[in-house]
Symmetry: C2
Subunit: 194 residues, 2 copies
């Protein structure tokens, strides 16, 4: 997705060989027009799969997911990282380790929002080691529903996540695929649609 | 906003005299089309105010804010409730007590995302005791920027927040205003635009 790659090159910062900071447009400040384009791009990559629901994780997955939900005409559910007093019902839960935050979180979804007839598109802002996407897929399976695919805004292709998800048989579509972040330089995979 | 009020009546649940659960369309599952209408409604209520940025709070404020940002053509910044390893710069912070979760959180925004020339629209999903909106306004003032107004999706008009915010001189626009939640019944304020 060309617009996204330009944004990453112009406003992203390679903080280290593994950390890409995109807080100007994705995970602290959000560019709504870019999100609308991202939503449309996910629609183009997954339409025809009869998706009935989108599942994402708070907080940075919400903006691209809501725009994808608008494009695809389906509701969005976001998994929560902590329980709240008004989220007291039957929950589907999974464990996810965050390398960035160096902690394990239990993520949870009320079971009434995913059922056996659902065909679920999982969306997340980043794919690094695949922990979050795997946990979201676990929740879909716990509900007895089908994973239609996994849509990622920015994939760090040099980390273990992409292969892990493919090994589990998932259809992964990443809108920008980063080959390396060495020496402060952001390099994309040189392939069509990368 | 009629569509929102119908959603609240049809899918909201009055859990107690003070707690309204709207997890079917706003703060766990999200209805993207409703969010788009909410974004448009905020635009109609605040256009002409020369808004340059929207400030909200993760997680439930993000969806309506991104749609409002798309309608108004401005970026959205969401305050974080916890620091992450990649959010390590100069921060503007404020304290906010959550009655729902019975805890005090420090919310934070990187100072580079709000500056003195900004005219900021604050958006949040609920207005109850005004804690979150007040804290977001504090952050805008810390940045030396101007609060253009406060846009609320659902106002619990019987709690202290609406009056507190008006006493501080803010222009508050709430898309649905709830008069009471007694005996499991949801009653709206009977006024124009309520």
């Amino acid at each position: 997705m060309q617009l996204l790659k330009e944004k990453i090159l112009n406003e992203g910062v390679a903080l280290s060989d593994t950390v890409l900071k995109v807080d100007h447009f994705l995970n602290h400040q959000i560019d709504p027009e870019l999100m609308a384009e991202i939503g449309q791009a996910f629609k183009e990559r997954f339409e025809g799969k009869n998706i009935t629901r989108i599942l994402t994780l708070e907080s940075s997955g919400i903006a691209p997911s809501v725009m994808a939900g608008l494009s695809l005409g389906v509701p969005v559910v976001f998994a929560r990282k902590r329980k709240s007093l008004t989220l007291d019902e039957n929950l589907l839960t999974a464990e996810v380790y965050s390398y960035t935050k160096q902690e394990t979180n239990t993520i949870a979804v009320a079971d009434k929002f995913i059922n056996e007839s659902d065909v679920v598109l999982i969306i997340d802002d980043f794919l690094a080691n695949g922990e979050a996407a795997n946990a979201l897929a676990d929740i879909v399976h716990l509900a007895g529903a089908e994973v239609a695919g996994i849509g990622i805004v920015i994939e760090k292709s040099f980390q273990s996540g992409p292969q892990k998800l493919k090994d589990r048989g998932y259809h992964v579509e990443s809108l920008a695929r980063i080959a390396s972040l060495s020496n402060g330089e952001i390099n994309f995979l040189s392939e069509v649609n990368a």
